[in-house]
């Protein structure tokens, strides 16, 4: 089955293979020689690049719950065509984050302990549970795609029967752990720099994940469009862009207001290591894309949207890395920079993610359902031909 919707990136395969191999070797070293010999983590800096990657992966995978909520709970059915790509993105994102978490743990062999040993006072415990449950929800939301391909229809009906509570549960779990990643740092007021520490961390993490999640959806649809498969017509993309602009505006207002009330604005008067990092984050990821998205011209142009949403994602990465690393450094006495092995493992896992995505898109019905499954589609106003539904009785998939 040939799908024309894929971007052609020359030399992608050798690059991905190299990265994955290098990552595998780095992971081998990490498991054989321990964290101390292979990472730059220390008692002073117990969390580093990998935690930053987790924040990033989860934040970008927010595309899953935002789009599912918009389409299936808020009934924005015109966005139906991007539901499956969004779920796929989220599913891969979460699996990769779980993988990185296990590599990051000092005792990977004990990774299952949070399942049976609870501590309800621990944010980490809540996050572990949310991650496990939401990954389960995502796999159930993803399962029909695989089952369609295999032409096993009865479990699809079964999943369809519980899909509403499942989706609501998924959205709630996402709300909880997206914000809880911020809550992780509530307990270190004496360590995290005043530009990032605030009791509002969970709220800020949540608002920004909405902007980054939707940006990922737009970026994806633009990349598919470049490959000739336009899932969303321009006006619908422009509407999504408006939601991003609103989220960015709310974020900036809450963030600046919070700095003001806590008296942390004075940290910004001098150009320091911290204030520069803060300016970079806020300007690149929030202020500039917000200004861009205010313009109709940007919202309706592919190139403009591409630039704006890319800025949101980069700024989001800045924000999470600043919270996880920069804000905890004591410049210049105590800083952290990841080791090569940490970087290789991270790049390798990222490459696995991209490869898995393009592989799955090639082999599974991500762009159009093959049978009238969990989400019967109506009033699709995408301007492309309606997909052919094959009924359960006449479901000969190979003949398509």
């Amino acid at each position: 089955m040939k799908i024309p919707g894929l971007p052609r990136i020359t030399g992608w395969h050798p690059i991905a293979t190299t990265l994955i191999l290098a990552g595998a070797m780095a992971a081998f070293a990490r498991f054989n020689y321990g964290l101390g010999a292979t990472t730059n983590l220390s008692d002073e800096f117990p969390w580093g690049l990998w935690i930053g990657f987790d924040f990033l992966g989860i934040g970008l995978a927010a595309s899953g719950f935002t789009i599912v909520a918009a389409v299936n709970l808020f009934h924005a059915k015109e966005y139906e065509p991007i539901v499956r790509p969004a779920i796929l993105t989220a599913f891969i994102g979460y699996l990769l984050v779980v993988l990185v978490l296990i590599i990051d743990l000092g005792r990977p062999d004990h990774f299952w302990h949070p399942l049976v040993m609870w501590n309800p006072h621990s944010v980490m415990c809540e996050i572990s549970w949310c991650l496990m449950l939401y990954t389960t929800v995502l796999s159930l939301e993803f399962a029909p795609i695989v089952l369609e391909k295999l032409n096993i229809v009865s479990p699809i009906k079964w999943i369809h029967a519980i899909s509403l509570p499942l989706m609501i549960f998924g959205v709630l779990l996402s709300t909880l752990h997206q914000s809880s990643f911020g809550s992780l740092y509530l307990i270190v007021p004496n360590r995290l720099h005043a530009l990032w520490y605030t009791p509002l961390l969970p709220v800020l993490f949540f608002i920004s994940c909405i902007a980054s999640g939707i940006s990922m959806v737009i970026l994806e649809s633009l990349i598919f469009a470049r490959g000739g498969r336009d899932l969303l017509p321009t006006p619908l993309r422009a509407n999504l862009a408006k939601i991003i602009a609103v989220a960015l505006a709310v974020y900036v207002v809450v963030r600046v207001q919070d700095l003001l009330t806590r008296g942390a604005l004075r940290e910004l008067t001098a150009l320091t290591y911290y204030s520069l990092a803060f300016y970079a984050e806020l300007l690149i990821g929030f202020v500039i894309p917000f200004a861009m998205l205010l313009m109709e011209r940007v919202r309706t142009s592919r190139r403009g949207l591409y630039a704006a949403t890319l800025l949101v994602v980069v700024g989001f990465a800045f924000n999470r890395m600043n919270t996880a690393i920069t804000g905890l450094e004591h410049y210049p006495a105590q800083t952290y920079f990841p080791s090569l092995i940490e970087v290789f493992i991270t790049l390798g896992i990222t490459a696995i993610g991209f490869s898995a995505f393009s592989f799955i898109v090639k082999h599974l019905p991500i762009f159009e359902p093959m049978v009238a499954g969990p989400r019967p589609r109506k009033e699709v106003v995408t301007g492309r031909p309606e997909p052919i539904f094959i009924s359960r009785e006449g479901g000969d998939l190979e003949s398509r």
């Binding site: 321990g34 008692d43 990051d104 980490m124 509403l164 709630l172 709300t175 809550s183 307990i187």
Partner: protein, 257 residues
């Protein structure tokens, strides 16, 4: 043993002989040799400030930050006072290293099965009715072991007896919600490397303000999202019905949503 135990560390009595560290190393079978900072092989160490020595070790907080952050309950506060660690439960997330306001836990980074290490408040000695090795070894009485309430009375008595000698504060009485290690000092604690920004509220309260909202988010959010779905779903049905009515007004009314 029901009484909570504590130690009173009177900095005016400490002569910096390091007997506490020596005894600690012997008790815990750690490699001997003087160490200046807390490490995997030094559960207690002496910081020197001009002519004052300050003992560092796990403070065995009353509401311990490390215990609250540990996702699997590998750290626990025991009734007698010590904060205990169970390496069999530990998953190695290192949140305790990140969160401890006193920077106490140290990690076995070079191991492939790493654990944290820190002062155990000689829990096994306490259970046998003995005092901690360091308190027993202290030749000047600078580290004194006893019941928490009695030691607080004693500390206050010392300050009242010689008000000019001490700053009028028992560090650890209610700092971060109270600890098991009380310090008396002749100079303000801020000059001795004590973090003055921590306040008297236990750190776990900072997290609980967010975590306590989890049940609310689940219940209110669930009802809200369910309601939103119901409204949007019904609106779509009504629209579909109205559209069909327009097309075919003779359609029987039992289809009405």
């Amino acid at each position: 043993m029901s009484q909570k135990k504590a130690m009173l560390i009177d900095l005016t009595l400490c002569v910096g002989c390091n007997a506490c560290q020596g005894a600690c190393k012997e008790e815990n079978r750690l490699p001997p040799g003087e160490e200046k900072y807390l490490s995997l092989t030094a559960y207690t160490a002496l910081d020197k400030y001009n002519d004052l020595y300050v003992r560092r070790m796990c403070q065995h907080c009353d509401v311990p930050t490390c215990v609250s952050v540990c996702p699997v309950g590998a750290l626990s506060k025991t009734e007698a006072g010590p904060v205990a660690y169970d390496a069999e439960k530990c998953i190695g997330c290192r949140y305790c290293l990140q969160a401890c306001p006193f920077h106490v836990p140290k990690y076995e980074w070079s191991s492939t099965k790493p654990r944290i290490q820190k002062c155990k408040f000689c829990a096994s000695r306490l259970a046998r009715g003995l005092q901690p090795a360091c308190a027993e070894a202290c030749p000047t009485g600078a580290t004194q072991f006893g019941d928490r309430e009695e030691l607080l009375v004693e500390a206050a008595r010392r300050i009242n007896a010689e008000p000019a000698k001490f700053v009028h504060r028992i560090y650890g009485k209610d700092d971060v919600g109270g600890t098991s290690m009380f310090y008396l000092s002749p100079v303000p604690f801020e000059q001795l490397g004590f973090d003055s920004r921590m306040g008297k509220t236990p750190m776990p309260m900072l997290t609980m303000s967010a975590l306590s909202k989890v049940p609310n988010v689940l219940s209110v959010g669930g009802v809200l999202l369910g309601g939103v779905w119901w409204i949007t779903n019904r609106r779509a049905k009504v629209q579909a019905f109205e559209a069909s009515q327009k097309k075919d007004p003779t359609r029987p009314p039992e289809d009405k949503p």
